[in-house]
């Protein structure tokens, strides 16, 4: 995401302050105050608000202003339910259409995620990975639903990987999924991915577990 640097700076600071609880849920964020705090003009603040609203960090209420959003478990459960219902259907259509290029692109994004040190980029990279594995399905409406889900989850994913003990994101489950696809084991790949999504959901909901190592206990 290459945008204006002062916008990026403000967005970054806001994400950090929200993730670490310096700004509590429902706090009213005023443009002028934020501009003063980060020593910038109001223009980039407005743009950063727009970005963070898009990523699920802020609620924008018409004629009232911007507020730190409280992530509700109910919403996470709903998006996970939709996700789990749709994943088998879309992957069944998508996996047989993967080409060499698909695998190359997937590997590239996974490498990027592994090397990513900036937690506010992880969410976008994981979303990019999702686009690579779902788009070949040729199901544009379903792909757009996944886009909606990921867009709303950028914050959840960012925070998930930031607050884990090891801030570097492990993409073990993703790599295993890609390996199974390469071996043409479509059914196994789908089961593997659905299980992973279920584990993610549980971990995200039980936020206190954030400090524990991620999934795949067996390995």
């Amino acid at each position: 995401m290459k945008t204006n640097t002062s916008v990026q700076k403000v967005a970054q600071c806001l994400r950090h302050d929200i993730t670490y609880g310096n700004f509590k849920p429902f706090k009213h964020l005023k443009e002028a105050e934020v501009a003063k705090k980060y020593n910038v003009s109001r223009v980039p603040v407005r743009e950063a608000f727009r970005m963070l609203h898009y990523e699920g960090y802020l609620d924008v209420i018409h004629n009232k202003g911007c507020f730190v959003k409280k992530i509700s478990n109910d919403y996470i459960i709903q998006t996970a339910t939709v996700y789990k219902l749709l994943v088998p259907v879309i992957l069944e259509k998508a996996i047989p259409k993967y080409t060499k290029k698909t695998f190359e692109r997937a590997d590239k994004v996974l490498n990027k995620i592994e090397q990513c040190k900036n937690f506010s980029e992880v969410g976008y990279l994981i979303w990019e990975f999702a686009k690579i594995i779902y788009t070949p399905s040729g199901m544009p409406f379903t792909v757009s639903i996944f886009d909606d889900i990921y867009r709303q989850s950028v914050r959840v994913l960012n925070e998930f990987f930031e607050t884990r003990e090891n801030a570097l994101f492990k993409v073990k489950a993703h790599k295993e999924f890609i390996e199974l696809c390469k071996e043409k084991k479509t059914r196994e790949a789908i089961i593997h991915w659905t299980e992973f999504v279920g584990q993610m959901e549980t971990l995200v909901i039980n936020r206190k577990d954030f400090s524990k190592p991620i999934i795949n206990k067996a390995s």
Binding site: Y75, Q78, T79, T81, V82, L85, L86, V89, G138, M139, P140, F141, T142, S144, I145, D148
Partner: protein
């Protein structure tokens, strides 16, 4: 009901005319719709034409391609099958949560919308009534994310629903499944009600596919 209608009559007039021309195949699939043509035809500025295009885009009538213009949307067999597949997967989950929350007022609302659909003579309104029906039966689930998703699905398929009505005999939308659904809900037969609705989705799918094959 479509808010746009009250906002601007010129816009709605243009939108209505284009809907009709698309439905009756006066405009063919993938045909380029030029703003200038409608500006001349209706003797208006570009502003209401553009607004009408926007409405038709949201209803699934046209594709708007940046730097290229607006085109009559081509609805493929694959598109129809995809929507039906997704709808059939998600509807049972939402209805399962919604039906136990129905109150007397919900039944009354459902009944009223069915009557509206049955009395509707204007093909470009029927899609909106059916969307309203969907909101009423799914809304009590309070599953906001699912509801947003269904809203998007209905909005993008207003055209298909309108066209099924237009192609129906005696210009009457068949509400027998809607009535059966309501009857079963009142009898607290949740499972049967959900079955009825799932079958209804398949029925709409095959009507839609038949329409596209001609």
């Amino acid at each position: 009901m479509p808010k746009e209608k009250k906002k601007n009559n010129t816009v709605e007039l243009i939108a209505r005319q284009i809907r009709e021309d698309i439905t009756k195949s006066s405009f063919k699939s993938s045909q380029h719709l030029k703003e200038g043509y409608f500006v001349k035809k209706f003797g208006v500025s570009r502003v209401p034409v553009r607004e009408a295009f926007r409405i038709l885009h949201s209803e699934g009538y046209i594709d708007m391609i940046p730097n290229k213009g607006s085109f009559v949307k081509k609805i493929t067999k694959k598109d129809i099958e995809e929507i039906a597949l997704i709808y059939k997967l998600l509807a049972p989950v939402v209805l399962d949560a919604a039906i136990p929350n129905y109150k007397k007022s919900t039944y009354k609302q459902i009944e009223e919308i069915i009557i509206k659909v049955e009395h509707c003579k204007d093909f470009s309104e029927v899609g909106y009534f059916l969307w309203e029906f969907a909101k009423t039966i799914f809304g009590p689930s309070k599953l906001t994310f699912f509801l947003e998703l269904f809203d998007k699905m209905y909005r993008n398929n207003i055209r298909s629903l309108n066209e099924i009505f237009e192609a129906s005999e005696h210009k009457q939308y068949d509400t027998s499944d809607h009535r059966e659904f309501l009857r079963l809900c009142k009898l607290k037969k949740k499972k049967e009600a959900i079955d009825t609705w799932t079958k209804h989705i398949s029925k709409i799918e095959s009507l839609n596919l038949k329409l596209r094959s001609n």
